[in-house]
Amino acid sequence: MEITTVTRGNGTVLSLAGRIDTVAAPMLEQAINRVMESGSRKILLDFSGVSYISSGGLRVLLASAKKLKNTGDRFGLCCLSADVLKVLKLAGFTSIFSIYPSEGEALAGW
C-alpha cells in the first residue's frame, strides 16, 4: 500500500492507495503515529485508492481514533468506496469517527 502525507491548512491528510491487509495495516499505524509524533492532532485519511480493509485495518482505525479524542483533536475518513463504507458501517465504526464524502468537505469544518 502507498501512503502519501500532505499538510493541508491545520490538518494532515494521508492519502492511501491499495489494500489495507495484514501487511499494510501496521504500515498505516506507523504512518499515523509519525504524524501524531510530529505534533499534528487533526488527521484525515483519504480512502480514494482503497478497495479493501481487513480486520487488522479496522483495529488500526480504532486505535487511532482512541489516541485522537482530546478537545481540538480531529480524526476522519473521506472518499470511501462502497465496499469499505459498508464494512465500516456494519461494524459500527461510523459512530466513532467522522466520514466525509470529500477531502474538501472534511477540512472545511476543521
Partner: protein, 574 residues
C-alpha cells in the same frame, strides 16, 4: 537406520524390513497436487522405482541416484506406477535414463497402460491439471485380465536385460494379486486396488506396502474425478485392511504425505472407507466442475472475508466501548473470540492465491482445493456460540452457512434446497422487524440492573447488535395481504439480509420494499435511496444471483447515482 515400526527416513538408503539385502530410498514431498512421493528400492538384481512423480527436478534427482548405484553395479531399472495420474508419472518423460528402454522397463496395471498409450487426458488428470501428455511406451502390463488366475508362471526377458517371472495368483485378501520376481531378488506382490482410479495398485516388497493414493481417494477435490469408483474403493480398502491385519507389514508408503505405521494406516483407511460410504451421488469432478467450484470458492470467500471483517470490527467496537466504560478486562478479552490476525492471514493468502490463478499460474482445481483448505481452518478459528451472544447472530449464522455451503459444493454434492410454500409478505415483515428492533428491550436492561453478570451480557449484546435498519426509513408496501410462493425460507432471508446490508452499507437513507404480481410471476423490489458510497463495488452479483436461485427465485439489479434497486422474481411452479 530405522527398523521395526520406526518410520522410514527420507532421502536415505535403509534396509527394506524382512527383505535380505534390499534397500529403500524414500523421496517424501510436501503434499500438493503437482507431484507425488517417489520410492527407490534396490536389490542385487534390480532397481525398482515406484512413481517417478510429476516434476522434472524430481526425475533428475531420482535419475542421479539411479546413475550412482548403477555405477556401483549395473542393474536393470523397473519403473512401476501405483496409477497413471500425471502427478505420479509425468517426470518419467523428462529424463533420458527413465525413458531409455535399454535401461528402464516401464510397468503399470493394464488399464493404466491403455491410458498412457493413448494419452488419455481425462483419466490421467492431465486435462484437470492443465498438463500435456504424449503417448508412452509400456513394457509390462500388470494384472492382465487375459492371464487372470492362470496360475502358471510366465518368464519374460526385456530390452534392459531384466528377466521377470510373473505369477498370477488367486485372489489374496479379496484382491486380484500378481507376484513378480526379478532375477533372484525378493518378490514384488502387486494388488489391484481400483477406486481412486481404475488402474490403482498397491505394491508389497518385504515389510513395505506402497499404497499410492488410497488414503486420499475420498477427499474433496479427488472424489468423483474421471475413473473414480466409490464401490470399488470401498472393496479395495477392505482388501488392504485384511492384508494389514495379517501382519508382516512394518511401514506403509503413501503416494502423498509421510510414511505411516500399519496401525495408523488401518485407522485412516477405516475413516476413508466411512467417508466413501457417504459419497453416494457425488458429481463427476471434471474441468468444468473444478472451474465452477473455484468460482464459487472465490465468491464465497469474498463474502466470508466481508462477514469476518465486520464481525471482527464489531468485536473491536464493543471492546472499544467497554474500554471507554472502564471495563478494561472485558474489553481486552473480546477480540480473542475471533482471532482476527489469524483470519486476516488466511484470507490474505486466499486472495493472493486467487490473483495467481487469474494470472494463469495455477489451474482452477488448485483454487477449489485452496478454498477447501482455508475454509476448514476458518471453521476452527472462531467461537461461533460465544460470538452469537454478543454480535448480530445472523452475521455468525450466515458465515457458518457460507462455510458449510462451500464444503458441500467442494465435496461434489448439490446444495440442499428446502423449497416450501411461504407467505412472502409475512416473511418480509418479520425480517424487517428483526432488523429494526433491538434484541433486548430497554425493560430487559432495566430488569437486569441488579444482576451484574446478566447486565454485562445484555450490555455487550446491546452494543454489539445495533439493528441494521435502526437509522433507516423503511417503507413496506404489498399489493395483496398474502403472497404465497414456493421458496427456501432460510436462503431467502439470508438473501434479504445481504441486500439490505448492501443498501445500508452504501449509505441508503430510505429503503422501499414492494411485493406484487406480474402475471404468474411474484415480484419483490427492494430499493435504496440516498446512497452515498461511490458507485460500483457491492456484493458480486454472481454470488447474489446464485443465492437467489437456491432460494427459488431470480435476481436483477440496477444502480444509478444515489440509488440501487434489486428485483426478485418467483415463478409459481414448485
Amino acid at each position: 537406520m530405522p527398523g521395526g515400526n520406526e518410520p522410514l527416513l527420507p532421502l536415505q538408503w535403509q534396509p527394506v524390513p524382512g527383505c535380505g539385502e534390499a534397500m529403500v530410498y524414500p523421496l517424501i514431498r510436501k503434499v500438493d497436487i503437482v507431484s507425488s512421493n517417489s520410492y527407490l528400492v534396490q536389490t542385487p538384481d534390480a532397481i525398482v522405482l515406484i512413481d517417478p512423480g510429476g516434476l522434472p527436478d524430481q526425475a533428475a534427482h531420482l535419475a542421479s541416484i539411479i546413475r550412482g548405484i548403477r555405477g556401483e553395479k549395473a542393474r536393470p531399472v523397473i519403473m512401476m506406477l501405483t496409477h497413471a495420474h500425471v502427478d505420479h508419472f509425468l517426470a518419467a518423460c523428462s529424463d533420458p535414463l527413465l525413458a531409455d528402454p535399454g535401461i528402464t522397463l516401464f510397468a503399470i496395471q493394464e488399464s493404466g497402460a491403455r491410458s498412457l498409450e493413448s494419452s488419455d487426458r481425462q483419466v490421467t488428470q492431465a486435462e484437470m491439471l492443465g498438463k500435456e501428455v504424449t503417448p508412452m511406451r509400456i513394457d509390462l502390463r500388470l494384472l492382465e485380465a487375459a492371464r487372470e488366475r492362470a496360475g502358471a508362471p510366465v518368464r519374460r526377458t526385456f530390452a534392459n536385460g531384466a528377466t521377470v517371472m510373473v505369477v498370477q495368483d488367486p485372489l489374496e485378501s479379496g484382491l486380484p494379486h500378481e507376484r513378480i520376481v526379478v532375477g533372484d531378488g525378493p518378490p514384488l506382490d502387486i494388488f489391484h486396488t481400483p477406486g481412486h482410479s481404475p488402474d490403482s495398485i498397491c505394491i508389497r516388497i518385504g515389510g513395505l506396502l506402497f499404497i499410492g493414493d488410497l488414503l486420499v481417494a475420498a477427499n474433496p477435490g479427488l472424489a468423483g474425478i474421471a475413473g473414480w469408483n466409490r464401490d470399488a474403493l470401498i472393496r479395495s480398502i477392505t482388501g488392504i485392511q485384511e492384508l494389514l491385519s495379517r501382519g508382516g507389514i512394518t511401514a506403509v508408503c503413501p503416494g502423498h504425505g509421510r510414511v505411516l505405521t500399519p496401525d495408523d494406516t488401518a485407522r485412516m483407511l477405516g475413516a476413508v472407507q466411512g467417508e466413501a460410504r457417504l459419497l453416494t451421488g457425488v458429481a463427476e469432478l471434471n474441468r468444468d466442475r473444478a472451474r465452477e467450484t473455484a468460482a464459487f470458492a472465490e465468491d464465497c470467500m469474498e463474502q466470508v472475508n466481508e462477514l469476518f471483517t465486520v464481525m471482527a470490527g464489531r468485536l473491536y467496537y464493543v471492546s472499544h466501548v467497554m474500554d471507554e466504560l472502564g471495563e478494561t478486562e472485558i474489553a481486552a478479552g473480546l477480540p480473542e473470540m475471533i482471532r482476527g490476525e489469524v483470519i486476516d492471514d488466511l484470507l490474505d493468502s486466499f486472495a493472493s492465491f486467487t490473483r495467481e490463478v487469474h494470472s494463469g499460474r495455477h489451474m482452477p482445481i488448485a483454487l477449489a482445493l485452496k478454498g477447501g483448505q482455508v475454509i476448514g481452518k476458518l471453521q476452527r478459528t472462531f467461537d461461533q456460540e460465544g460470538l452469537a451472544q454478543i454480535i448480530d447472530p445472523t452475521l455468525v449464522l450466515r458465515a457458518e452457512r457460507l462455510l458449510g455451503d462451500y464444503t458441500i459444493t467442494f465435496r461434489g454434492f448439490s446444495l440442499p434446497r428446502d423449497i416450501a410454500e411461504h407467505d412472502l409478505n409475512a416473511l418480509l415483515r418479520a425480517s424487517l422487524t428483526d432488523h429494526t428492533v433491538r434484541s433486548s428491550s430497554d425493560d430487559d436492561v432495566l430488569a437486569s440492573a441488579d444482576d451484574h453478570a446478566a447486565f454485562g451480557r445484555l450490555l455487550l449484546a446491546r452494543i454489539g447488535t445495533s439493528p441494521l435498519l435502526g437509522d433507516v426509513e423503511v417503507t413496506f408496501g404489498a399489493d395483496s395481504k398474502t403472497l404465497t410462493v414456493p421458496v427456501d425460507r432460510e436462503r431467502f432471508l439470508d438473501l434479504l439480509t445481504y441486500l439490505l446490508e448492501d443498501l445500508v452499507g452504501t449509505g441508503a437513507k430510505a429503503i422501499t420494499i414492494h411485493t406484487g404480481k406480474d402475471g404468474d410471476t411474484t415480484v419483490v423490489t427492494i430499493s435504496g435511496a440516498g446512497c452515498t458510497g461511490r458507485p460500483g463495488g457491492g456484493i458480486p452479483r454472481r454470488f447474489l444471483s446464485g443465492l437467489c436461485e437456491r432460494a427459488g427465485g431470480t435476481l436483477d439489479s440496477c444502480e444509478a447515482a444515489g440509488s440501487r434497486q434489486f428485483t426478485i422474481r418467483f415463478g409459481t411452479v414448485l
